[in-house]
Point group: C5
Chain length 104, copies 5
């Protein structure tokens, strides 16, 4: 599984019929220290990920194991939104808590 | 899925019988910023892509999930023509609109 | 199969339903000389690996061949804890023996 | 699919029973400009390729989709002999025509 | 398929039940000129390979196509011991003949 941050979208009208309805996101590749690895991936979203989310994506035939992507010509899908990554006892990533609706 | 621009074709007469009728295209590998990654892929076309099109291609067993490539010895196929890629709120690629047939 | 040392954990609440209950570990990639390869992998644990363990993980569709990961959108899993690696007649890694509970 | 030139052979007597009868060729990896990529592949021949032929080979599970390689422990096979590659309107490779047996 | 030389072993007691009985070997990666590629692979042995043998190993789902590795969480296995590699008419590798038991 690869870590990344959702930074964009890709739109395609003419595509394989099995891809209709899928959403393609552009993901900036990150390592577990949240350093950019210098490249991007294009992956199908299966969990409602949004811009800025740190996500986990899966490649190859395993990317077809979600209900949305089953049997489709798709080799990368986002299947988890990351809350936290901890290495050697320190957080390298921690998702900001939702602002309380009653906070000033 | 990988981005690329269709730049050429490959012709083969002597090949596995399951490949007869498939069209091989040469794709220049691009990243999501439309920068050349310094290499080419050879992929089977499944969507009628033409020279100059920016496309998405899929690798591995997922490349056999289209009707055309099902069960064939093919590990890369073009399954989408890209209309637009947007990163951090700006377009890194936007397909030119068809010139109106009546425009001067 | 790839060697690595378990160095951290990854937590995700919003994920594909098939991933519920799986534990994601962060693994520092090592070569057979136990040198860091300069990157990390995220893999599902299937053998109760803990921080500091040197493990073997498997990638791609083979990562779905354990009872825990079968048919899930997971492309990397830890399926063995390493006791020893020997190259050219010398140990490059040997797991420390458990301290005897009665040792001083 | 990867391009390459057949430059050699590999012989193995002791091997998995499912590999008996298959021919292993050594392929020099080329890009679509016919530049050496600096490495070799070992692939099973399924089309009668010979030394000097420019070929296309396929990797992973797709390499098992030919009649010869079906269900075998083989992850690369040559499944096409290339006649021509054209990029941006010029040929980067064109197979020499057979010399006519009656030509002077 | 990848070339390599068997240089060591890996021992694991705590592992997936499907891996019990398999032998893990450490393989130094070689190219077809028998030059070290600067890394190691860990692969399951299926042909009785020993230290010093030059072998061919197979990756991904194809590594599960031997009788020993079928359906197991294993993504690399040795499935051939190499006798000879010939490139451009010269041997880059030739296995030494067994010393005759009666030779002086």
């Amino acid at each position: 599984m690869q870590l990344g941050e959702v930074v964009g979208t890709l739109v395609s009208t003419r595509k394989d019929p099995k891809l209709v309805g899928l959403k393609f996101l552009v993901v900036k590749n990150l390592d577990a220290e949240m350093r950019a690895l210098g490249g991007y991936s294009v992956a199908v979203d299966t969990v409602g990920a949004g811009l800025g989310d740190v996500v986990l994506h899966v490649a190859g035939s395993s990317a077809r194991m979600t209900e949305l992507t089953n049997d489709r010509p798709c080799d990368a899908c986002i299947m988890a939104i990351v809350d936290a990554v901890e290495i050697d006892g320190r957080y390298t990533y921690e998702k900001a808590r939702d602002a309380s609706p009653t906070s000033p």
